[in-house]
Amino acid sequence: MTQYTKVVPGVPHGEIEAKPLVTDPDDPFAPVALRSARRPKRSDLVSQGPLEKAYLFWIVGASCDGCTIAVAGATHPPVEDLLNGRVPGLPRIEIVHTVLSVESGPEWTENLRLAAEGKLDAPYLIAWEGSVMDETVSGEHGYWMGLGEDPADGRQITSLEWLDRMAPGAAAVLAIGTCACWGGIPAAHGNPTNAMGVMDHLGKDYRSALGLPVINVPGCSPIGDNITETAAAALLFLNGLAPLPEFDELGRPAWLFTETVHRHCPRAGYYEEGVFAHSYGDKECLVELGCWGPVVQCNIAERGIVDGHGGCMNMGGICIGCTMPGFPDKFSPFYERPPGALLSTNANRVMGGFIRRLRRLSQTDKMRSARWDGDRDLPSGWGRYKTQPVGAERLVHRLYSRRQHSREGG
């Protein structure tokens, strides 16, 4: 494990008396680890299982806070339900998070110290957001990611030191977002910090206190519900209410990240018929504008980004592969057609173009009620459609219909 020898030269530590640490469990400024025991228990009809509460340390490495924002937007379940123990059968989550915690500074870091020293009154999980930056290249006293001072000597502690100290005792380590899973943008070509994912840092042999390797929920930023659902699924399992969630070879929730986003894309029909967008804003398949959806594992097309709304291709954005370990360098330059798409789009232009015409033909029949078939005219005042098929078209419809009905009765 990395040795940390950072000190704070120039700061007259101890020259001035420090503000005393708040430790009264009834004081809202005290560490939540001390306050937690005083929070009222909720009665719950569903058997609680072994876990009544669990701590969640959400630690931020080299991140943009986008994953925090993403999780705050989750609706199934929403974070406040997890934090208030409002989901039946789930333990209440006591959160230690710089954006949400009540306590600040030394009281905040005291929670981390208690966890690292195994002094909490309940199991804890770590959710790590952002890449892990290599603090061995930040110099003897420098740091890329500072998080807390050591009250004993004023030494700057880094986020990474906390991860190293807390990971062995954690019930599970969740890497939240592409930076934390695989390195993401801070690890892109040219970066000076040797940034990497949590897995890369902790290594292949890492196992949590419950024997789990790192769980990865990628996305830049991830869909909020992918985060809360994964956490809830794991907790439901721990409380004996649900089966063990399935994780794939990369530690991703398998049910969320197996399918390509293309398979569920609302524009996939255009792709199949060989119709492609050529200007930004067009409604057709975006592949020629640079969409990587056909090879990217992501569920945004069906889940949306917040409460079922939005989504990249859903609204007109190309997929840049933000959930993938190869992101961003293996998908850039963005906004250029992926080379592999040349073959598939042209094949689909030929085949899809043919099929599309046949479908259109069939559609002109299905657009008329049986009653209208006999009439000369269509009773619509809008009158946009050619009313009656003639000649060959009519013949095709007849044959099609005969074929269709010949199957009646099996």
Partner: protein
């Protein structure tokens, strides 16, 4: 004459030039950083104070309920019950601009977006604006409307998130009953003046609403951030980190539903804005009346910098030549406020006065190796792109306005992580200054410039009165309501929060204007949202300027042969969180904390420092994008570092 410290004068045609006869116009005379602890001690030993200071050191690392990694070191004087010292520290480095170097400029849209997931859409937009200027294209009107509406919705998520979840708990019963129990008692007996609007009978009911995780206002604000995001995603696709912003407009597939769904939600925001204004009026007035010294909490001079936001689609043409005109046509005006007075609304003048210093930041001064810092032997506009230069790349912008060697287009930051040392380096944030003055930026700042500029086009919803804004919000469940926001006499923690609350109404009114405009273009059949382009292969220099939730945002780029040579991001919280500058002057957080009274009614040892935290949080700090800086030198190695350390 807007410049006092930089030697820039204007000729009779209003063209800016460097004052004649100044040998080194941008010379920096480095001064000892202000050491407020020592001055407090000196004052008392000189007998100026009744009693010597009794000091307590407080290292708030991390400061919570802010976005990103912020630490503040402060020293409290228990004798006078004030904060006497403050150092603001950005704790994280990520290096986005290094990653951008040498890339296809279009990649900057998605990569720069990851500078900040809290201001989740605005970086992509600013990046697109910069590229439009560089490529010589402009978004069609409906594309501009879509961008406007996306960013309007972003504010509906941004401000409630701060007011409800981050700042709100500081005014909650849970907190105040520990720091000032007498105020809770008083609040229980004080009827809330806006009870009919927000439904909370007494001020204590409001304070209950702010209780973390459980209070009604806390939980409701989470709900509203989600409504706002669904509005955002109609325009942006994904949030944070939009997927539909492109140079020349947007790639949003706009349909009739896009605007209809947006409209359906806007009504809810109208009501929420009315309620937020009432809630924060009642809370702020309650504290300020209970103890007028609260007006000194987080107080600093009214110096503000704003880049303006929400373009008029009919005026915006993306050219640098017309940047002043389309900047001034924005629904929220760009501007510089000095000591409460508006000194300019021209983006060229704002741009001209910007410098970034790294004296107290973990970077090397990029001008250190030059032959001269100001008088530039080799650099002239648009000529340079190499290392080993004798001077700045750009001595002037494309219009001939002088630029400092410390300007973004000349900047080349070289990260050097080292131990923190308040006399030397202590933050990953740089120190941006305008006319060498430390400037703050925020929601209230853009309302301030808009109110004073009085350049708003005729519209039924917002009137700029010169000393405030009148905002007319249509009826939803609550009746049609006129909100009136007044420019505050003192810029303190309470007025920042109040301004932010009114900012929701301000933004909602602009949303209404932009939506009506979008319907109008839609009706006229002007439904194009993007302009085709080719990435140019010759040298281009450009900037994008818009505003994030917290104000000021610029991206400056320099490209050649279709690749980025330099890409610089300057963000609101870099301004607000900046450390001391080479002249020894503190950044805005530091200024605001020093002198803040500790108004808790408890014994010395029980002081929680809540008024310090209120001061910091009132800025709505957002650190992720503060710490993204650039370098020209590639991977930092242990060797390089150890020699950096020996320099200490």
């Amino acid at each position: 004459m807007c410049f006092k410290n930089l030697p820039i004068t204007f000729d009779s045609d209003g063209r800016a030039r460097l004052a004649e006869g100044v040998a080194d116009p941008y010379a920096v005379a480095v001064a000892e950083p202000k050491d407020f602890v020592r001055s407090a001690q000196a004052r008392s030993s000189a007998g100026a104070l009744a009693a010597p200071p009794r000091l307590r050191e407080w290292s708030i690392d991390p400061v919570t309920r802010v976005a990103g990694a912020l630490a503040v070191h402060t020293v409290l004087d228990l004798e006078t019950r004030t904060a006497v010292e403050a150092h603001s520290m950005a704790m994280l480095f990520r290096g986005y601009e290094i990653i951008l170097k040498g890339r296809d400029p279009r990649d900057a849209i998605d990569i720069s977006s990851r500078a900040c997931g809290v201001c989740g859409g605005v970086h992509s937009t600013v990046s697109s604006l910069a590229m439009e200027m560089a490529f010589g294209i402009v978004s069609p009107p409906l594309g501009t409307c879509v961008r406007n509406l996306g960013e309007v919705a972003e504010m509906f998520y941004d401000h409630p998130l701060h007011l409800g979840l981050l700042a709100g708990p500081d005014y909650s019963t849970a907190i105040v009953s520990v720091t000032n129990p007498e105020l809770v008692e008083r609040a229980a007996k004080t009827p809330a003046p806006h009870a009919d609007v927000h439904g909370f009978r007494t001020v204590k009911d409001i304070m209950d609403g702010f209780n973390p995780l459980e209070g009604a206002i806390y939980l409701e604000s989470l709900e509203y951030t989600r409504i706002a995001r669904t509005m955002c995603t109609l325009m942006y696709g994904k949030y944070p980190h939009p997927s539909t912003l492109v140079p020349g407009g947007v790639s949003t597939t706009v349909s009739t539903s896009t605007f209809n769904e947006y409209y359906a939600n806007l009504g809810k925001i109208f009501d929420y804005a009315k309620r937020l204004a009432g809630i924060w009026d009642d809370i702020c007035d309650f504290f300020l009346e209970a103890d007028p010294r609260y007006s000194d909490v987080g107080l600093r001079p009214s110096n503000l910098i704003q880049t303006g936001i929400w373009d008029d689609p009919a005026v915006y043409d993306a050219t640098y030549a017309n940047i002043d005109a389309w900047g001034q046509a924005r629904y929220s005006a760009p501007g510089i406020v000095k000591d409460g007075e508006l000194v300019t609304t021209k983006l060229t003048e704002i741009n001209m006065g910007i410098e970034e210093f790294v004296e107290h930041s973990y970077y090397e001064d990029w001008t250190a190796g030059w032959n001269g810092s100001g008088a530039n032997p080799n650099g002239s506009n648009g000529n340079g792109n190499g290392a080993g230069r004798g001077g700045p790349r750009f001595a002037a912008d494309a219009l001939g306005n002088p630029l400092s060697p410390y300007h973004a287009w000349n900047k080349e930051t070289i990260p050097r992580p080292e131990g923190k040392n308040f006399k030397e380096k202590y933050s990953w944030a740089t120190a941006p200054r305008w006319d060498r003055i430390s400037m703050e930026t925020g929601v209230y700042g853009r309302m301030w410039t808009t109110a004073m500029a009085r350049q708003l086009p005729d519209n039924p919803y917002i009137e700029a009165t010169g000393d405030g804004l009148r905002i007319l919000l249509p009826a939803h469940d609550l009746p049609e309501t006129e909100l009136e926001w007044k420019i505050p006499a003192k810029l303190n923690a309470f007025e920042r929060n109040r301004g932010r609350a009114y900012g929701v109404g301000f933004t909602a009114a602009i949303g209404m204007i932009c939506l009506m405009q979008a319907f109008e273009y839609w009706r006229k059949g002007e439904t194009r949202v993007s302009t085709p382009f080719k990435v140019p292969t010759d040298e281009r220099v450009a900037m994008g300027a818009w505003e994030a939730g917290r104000g000021y945002l610029t991206h400056h780029l320099h490209m050649d042969k279709g690749k980025l040579l330099n890409y610089q991001i300057n963000t609101p919280s870099t301004w607000n969180a900046s450390p001391r500058d080479p002249f020894g002057n503190p950044g805005p957080y530091e200024e605001a904390i020093v002198g803040t009274p500790l108004l808790e009614s408890v014994a010395d040892d029980d002081i929680k420092g809540i008024d310090i935290l209120r001061s910091i949080r009132s800025f709505d700090p957002c650190m992720p994008c503060t710490t993204h800086m650039d370098t020209g030198r590639g991977v930092i190695t242990r060797e390089v570092n150890s020699c950096g350390c020996t320099l200490e």
